[in-house]
Amino acid sequence: MDVQAVYAQIGGDYADALERLRKPERIEKYLVKFRGQSLAPLEEAVAGGNAEEAFLQAHTLKGICANLSLTRLANSASDLTENLRARTMDADTPGLLENVKKDFALVMDAVSKA
């Protein structure tokens, strides 16, 4: 896998990931592991009006992406997390979720093709 190319494609920061995690093989290992992530619990929580669970799911996704320096997805997950921080949903929530879904799909597509 050309990890640097994948990072460039998905709006990630490879240099930051390498500084954070120290070893290129670790970055690749975690990217492969990231394939196992699913947005289904987040989508179900939002669809079901469960703001507490949606906040936890968005917050967790933000944390993973930030640690892997998947910057673009981390930012959209962060926006959704802050929208849900009061454990309520508003008119902005669906759009913010759509941004997460779009950025998540970009990551998954690039990682699965690499």
């Binding site: 500084e19 954070r20 995690l21 120290r22 070893k23 670790r26 290992k29 975690y30 592991k33 990231f34 669970e53 936890l56 917050h59 967790t60 933000k62 944390g63 993973i64 930030a66 640690n67 892997l68 320096s69």
Partner: protein, 134 residues
């Protein structure tokens, strides 16, 4: 930290694995994916655990539930705790300090920072545990 045992409490598998990779050649590792599992492990292995790395935001029993258990069981003074969380707002920090947490590591974290903070907390803990010479 050599030969010590670190309990990593983190619900997200990738973040847990990152911490394990950073620490596994420096300490023995125990891991818990949620607060209940952490409390069980602390109850069973409290005599061998040297340090707890604790996430705050976890489903079910969160990091504060683990801290509450450690306080009630008299473990908080014996086993130092470092919180690793993106929730480093003032309320979380204030509550954690009040419950005996020794330090904080903000997510996203760097290996160098994780190792440095662990070393500092362990040094302080060992120094504090030494009996005062007459």
């Amino acid at each position: 930290m050599a030969q010590g045992t670190v309990l990593i409490v983190e619900d997200q598998e990738i973040n847990r694995d990152i911490l394990i990779d950073m620490l596994e050649d420096k300490a023995s590792i125990l891991q818990a994916a949620n607060g209940i599992s952490a409390i069980t492990t602390l109850g069973q292995k409290k005599d061998e655990i040297s340090l707890v790395l604790l996430d705050l935001n976890m489903p079910g029993a969160n990091g504060f539930a683990v801290l509450e258990y450690m306080n009630n069981a008299g473990l908080i003074g014996k086993i130092p705790v470092i919180v690793i969380s993106s929730e480093v707002d003032s309320d979380s920090v204030r509550q954690s300090i009040a419950m005996g947490v020794k330090d904080f590591i903000a997510k996203p974290f760097k290996e160098s920072e994780v190792l440095a903070r662990i070393a500092r907390v362990m040094f302080r803990h060992k120094t504090a545990q030494k009996p005062t010479e007459a």
